[in-house]
Amino acid sequence: MEIRETIMNKYLLSACAFLVFGTGAAFAHVTLETQEAPVGSTYKAILRVPHGCEGKATTAVRVQIPEGVISVKPMPKPGWTLQAKQGRYEKSYQLHGQTVTSGAKQIDWSGGSLPDEFYDEFVFRGTLAADLPAGQILYFPVVQECEGAAERWIEIPAAGQDGDALEYPAPGLKLLPQK
């Protein structure tokens, strides 16, 4: 009886939470604002950082650029030091008739302070290569650093695994067929 009551409470509460929020998960994690884009297009990535780490202010955000996202340019942010780490791509890509073999592989915004009770966005732009597989999800692992703590939004679901079950999922972008 006690157990059943507890479980009942649990479901009731969850149901209530969903009533109020819809899919609440979107609020919890570091996510991309635009979660779908066609391959072969220019994509503006807006990383949404909804909270700090365990109540502490965010001091740095680092994002890893997956293979196939080329010609990436981050947007500077007042109060934050911006750094784009360059590197070689695994293969060469054609962009506007030119061969591209290297570019930004990682972007760091650091030295800022985003208190836990505030919200902010971190922006970069890039081109989704035309040969990326449409229908799949491309992940942008993010490390959120705070004073003496860090949250790593780097988990990628294994084949067949439900992405919602992950504790710290990496922000994902669903690739659509080329227009």
Binding site: E5, K10, S14, A17, G24, H51, Q64, D116
Partner: protein, 524 residues
Amino acid sequence: MCLLAAIVLLAAITAPGQAFAHAALVTTEPTDGAVLAQSPAQFSLTFSEPVSPLVLALVRPDGTPVPLRSFRLNGQTLDIDNPQRLGSGTHVLSWRVISADGHPVGGSVLFSIGAPSAAPAVSEAVDRGLRSAIWIGKVFLYVGLFLGVGGAFAIAWLAQGGRAGRRFVIAAILCGLVAAPLSLGLQGLDALGAPFARLARPGVWQAGFGTSFGWTVLVALVALGLGLLSLVGRRGGAKLFALAGLAGVGAALAASGHASAAEPQWLTRPMVFLHGAGIAFWAGALAPLGLTIRRKPAEAAAFLRRFSQAILPVVAVLAATGFVLAVTQVQAPAALLETAYGRLLLVKLALLFFLFTLAATNRWKLTGPAQAGETEAQRRLVRSIGIEMLIVLAIFGVAAGWRFTPPPRALAIAAAQPASVHIHTPKAMADLSITPGHVGPVAASIVIMTGDFGPLGANQVTLVLSKPDSGIEPIKRAATKRDDGTWRIDGLVIPVPGRWAARLDILVSDFEMVKIEAPIDIRR
């Protein structure tokens, strides 16, 4: 309930500047790992933002969960009433809450009342018939070695020509000559866990001989033979044979047994040797001495004088070696009462107390008058020696009982064995050891490798332990890297025994985490 939750959640939405995020535990009362003097009246959990509890439970040291249903929300703090007085041991406050974002999060807080849960002693199945036989064999072996070979020594060195008690001593040696090989077979049965019916099989005897007890039996047979030789052989070699026999008694005892197996060996083995030889000197002299006084009072004076001159240093050696060995085995005074080994030692000490009292009376009150030829004193001395013999036999019985009681030292070694698991996945491998592998305070040691046994560098390793069947939500601890490349977690307390789910989160690079998991069994 739903309305309450909706209000809480709406309040979270409408609160200005409030981000919708999942909650993190900020502080707890009691704090994780705390040791409290007494049962707390309430618990409190403070989160980084408002939450609603889903499941709150307290898991007692025996593993039974107690649901906690009385709680109050006070801003970001959740106050939970403790419905009952808690006994001593490690408890788990397991919580699962839902935060403003609708994501349930859970965790566990461990705290102990009095002291962290300790591990009780181990027990095993017992074959009583075999045990009795082994015990009797051991007592008879002691009779042969101490009363027999020791008696032969007393006749050769102390009586010097007197032959009273010779038949008794020969009988004791024969007793030992029968008991020694028989004990070997019984030891074989015990080693194999075989029933009595198999005593005739050669494999059983081989097994017995294969144990360290095999050496004890071999040396004991030689010592018994030397003792016998000193009694029945030519007069000339008697002293030499008897002395070699006495040394053999010490060597036989030092070859096996709990005391000889203890570390440091350079100390324990010589101690056992001296202790054994000392017992043989003392106990062996009793029967020939008593019989000489009774039958040939005229010869007894010289015998009594030599014995009483030698006995003081011998008893000093016995007491000193006995003390050192007892300390090595028992380690902590509390173990005297808490373990069977310790209780046997107490019984032996009590018997020794009587023995020493009697011996002191004999030495300082009766020896003088008896040497002077006072018949009354001689009569009392003989009676007193008879009682001493009985006490000595009782002590042999107690000492033979130690064969079945692992000393606290050995129990501590057994309890300290780690619980280990090897986790092998294509991405990573790990060896996880939890030491000691039973409930209570432990340390975890982790060795990580790549899936093909290569070195695996990691930025961070986190151990996540959970026990869903006991309602214990994940206990997370970050490991620290040691100079030798292993990862270690100290100050961990495992609250309940059984099968735990262990997960290792290995951060192999800034952006890549490998999670591997396996069950691990924690002893009681």
